[in-house]
Amino acid sequence: MSVLSKLKEAVICLKAGRVTLPYPAQAQPVPEKFRGRPIFDAAKCTGCGGCANNCPAREILLFDLCQEIRILQYLGRRCAYCGRCADVCPEKAITMSHEFETGTNSIGDIQQRVELFMSTCQRCGRCFKEPSTLEQLKLKGYRVDDVAHERWVFRSKSYLETEPVVDDIKIEMD
């Protein structure tokens, strides 16, 4: 009886053939609706901050270097690939790519940093982005030059601390 069952097992195994994927040697396609790592398109982004507000993992940081430069930083360490940022983006600047091969030995490798150029509304003083690069070039009022001392003076007071945001984890135990 046991010999028969072994024979049956062998037949089943032979019928199934070889199922192991030749994975790292040969690329493996992902399903159509698979969500991989979000990719930020810096040309489309207007710096509205919708993605940063909606990210459940708080993985998108937005800060202003000065009145004119806004930095959008995606850290990616605890990103759940949920796609909420891509859903909420009004400019469709975020695409959920099919990229999943993100194994790395340094967590900083996954980050994306976009430097956005913002200009100031002459009336209300808030930042906005001009539609085209040409208009950005035409706009000259974004900084004042201190001609006497040969330096730039930005209008705003806020500026960035130089410390990196990514490797900020300190080891501590209870």
Binding site: Y23, C66, A80, F100, S158, I171
Partner: protein, 178 residues
């Protein structure tokens, strides 16, 4: 350099110990998936062992929690050197979606040193195999930090690190003359 060291030390046959310190089980299922005949990670010599004392590699899933951090630390200490730690899933890499809840201390990095990161929630089995293949030197890693500037400032050139605060204003110290 780490890669060379890995190849020398581990001889391409890793015995892995699977430690879940408070994940949702999604990553565990993917790791078990990797061990099935379909992905068959034993062709790289990778074998799951039940005790950290037999293991070369610890696969960490889930964040370091208030209740499990000590146990995780003890499991790490029990492993014989040389040892590697893989953080699998976004919980282990960065603390996960619940990174700010009262019971979560943060990424496993806070408790044990992590050598390789495989983000994803959960990562695909292929992504885990890829991460392991990167570690043993079968493939090269594909990711690199991306930086993009929407506009290059007109001359003189602009470097954010040269900005400094001065009472009421932020000034740019170094001006490169044309």
């Amino acid at each position: 350099m780490l890669k060379n060291l890995c190849q020398k030390m581990f001889g391409r046959s890793l015995w892995v110990y699977h430690a879940n310190s408070g994940g949702c089980n999604g990553c565990d299922i993917e790791v078990l998936n990797v061990l099935t005949p379909y992905y068959d990670v034993e062709r790289f010599g990778i074998k799951l062992v039940g005790s950290p004392r037999h293991a070369d590699v610890m696969l960490c899933q889930g964040p370091a929690m208030r209740s499990t951090a000590q146990a995780l630390k003890r499991a790490y200490d029990a492993m014989p050197a040389p040892k590697l730690v893989f953080a699998i899933g976004s919980c282990a890499c960065g603390g996960g979606i619940w990174f700010d809840s009262y019971s979560v201390l943060g990424p496993v990095e806070k408790v044990v040193p992590v050598n390789f990161y495989i983000p994803g929630c959960p990562p695909r089995p292929e992504a885990i195999i890829y991460g392991v293949a990167v570690a043993v030197g079968l493939v090269d890693k594909k990711t690199a930090p991306v930086k993009f500037k929407q506009i290059e400032m007109p001359i003189p050139r602009y470097h954010p690190q040269d900005l400094s605060g001065r009472d009421e204003l932020v000034v740019y110290e170094k001006v490169e003359k044309v």
